[in-house]
Amino acid sequence: MQPIPRRILLVLLMLLGLGWTVVSRASPDSTTAGSIPAPQVGFLAPDFTLTGSDGKTVALSSFRGQPVVLNFWASWCPPCKAEMPALQAVSVAYEGRVAVLAVNAANQDLPANARAFLSDNGLTFPVLFDQDGTAQRLFAVQSLPTTFFIDASGIIRDLVIGGPMTEAGLRARIGMLLGERR
């Protein structure tokens, strides 16, 4: 029976672990710090400039100062179309407080179909057309719909791949962006 050496080993292991935790403390540049643009939670949302359905150009960075719900969609995508009423509802409910932006994957969609869908459904939030796929590449969109929840300082706080998202799901995440709990 040799309990003492084993217990000394245990204590040494615990002290070693504690020491490692202190030695490997996070320095300011070892974590994301939110300053690098990347399509991942905790990072700065990459900026892009696209043309909207009204012909005007819009930059994502122009919305800095308010939270943004950024949704990528296409008219051939059933869950994309299914969640549009929910996006319309929250854009109205949070008008002036949160910006809702829909980016149409125009490089893989028919413009006529996309515009017909917009007019048939009376969507009032800005819809931008990603003609050459630049925004989709910047945001590493590989599946539609994909929705990014960006806070007022431009940091991505949540990301939902797939859908359709319900109004409750959108409101819950918008509430998080606004620092609310319902």
């Binding site: 309990p3 791949i161 819950a172």
Partner: protein
């Protein structure tokens, strides 16, 4: 990185697929290495089923409780197929509670049950590392080392690879002990201690650590706590073994 696997019209979430494959393989291994005095194969799968169902229901109910106002105005959202309406912590708590209740009612011994699931946990841990690699989550801190990978705007430690290799190493080292550990609960404690130790070590190279207490990483503090508790419990088991006449 491969977050989505496109198979014709189907867009499969690769990380979810990898974890499911890991769970499938892990349960198969666990079934073949059941410990004496532990659950039967049928009970193993029943416990898994209960965990999944209770976890899903608990996650939805917990999310609804956290966002009560949203669900009060639209109660049908409780039955929505929207996967974003789930609270993972609530789901895990619900699964654990239901497992404990079921285990007590069916008189399934607790410590052998933990040992029975350990092979599955070990395999799932490997596939979780691969899932992180596929999604780009659990990413590393910037580095200039030659094996750095380009991810999220910088060359970073391949922390997902470190995670996968550590989990694989633990699974290989424990392989021969699966189903053969004579002391109930010991296998699980060893797995827990080694896994927590690995996380304590590897977190130093993560780029997504949550700093607390003057820069110390939250995951390291938690891992140290879990590792210490597991080691203390193992030491208590060793102490009891030393005191019994037949050893």
């Amino acid at each position: 990185m491969l977050p989505v696997l496109q198979l014709g019209p189907l867009a499969l979430r690769t990380p979810v697929l990898l974890v499911l494959i890991g769970a499938f393989l892990g349960l198969g291994l666990a079934e073949r290495r059941l410990p004496k005095g532990g659950p039967t194969a049928d009970q193993l799968y029943t416990l898994t089923f209960i965990a999944v169902v209770a976890g899903a229901l608990g996650a939805r109910l917990s999310f609804a409780a956290l966002h009560f106002g949203l669900f009060r105005s639209s109660p049908l959202n409780l039955f929505s197929l929207d996967a974003s309406l789930l609270d993972p912590l609530g789901g895990a708590a619900a699964a654990l509670i239901c497992l404990l209740i079921y285990g007590q009612r069916k008189k399934i011994a607790f410590r052998p049950a933990l040992d029975a699931f350990t092979p599955a946990l070990a395999v799932v841990a490997v596939f979780l590392g691969l899932a992180h690699l596929a999604s780009g989550a659990a990413f590393g801190s910037p580095t200039s080392l030659p094996w750095g990978i380009s991810l999220w705007g910088a060359v970073r430690h391949p922390s997902q690879v470190y995670e996968t290799l550590a989990a694989l190493g633990i699974a290989v080292l424990l392989w021969k002990r699966f189903g053969k550990e004579p002391v109930p609960g010991r296998l699980f404690l060893v797995f827990l201690a080694w896994s927590a130790g690995a996380r304590l070590l590897l977190e130093a190279w993560r780029g997504d650590s949550i700093p607390v207490f003057g820069g110390m990483r939250l995951a390291q503090v938690a891992a140290w706590t879990v590792m210490t508790l597991a080691l203390i419990l193992l030491e208590r088991q060793n102490g009891r073994k030393d005191r019994t006449p037949h050893g």
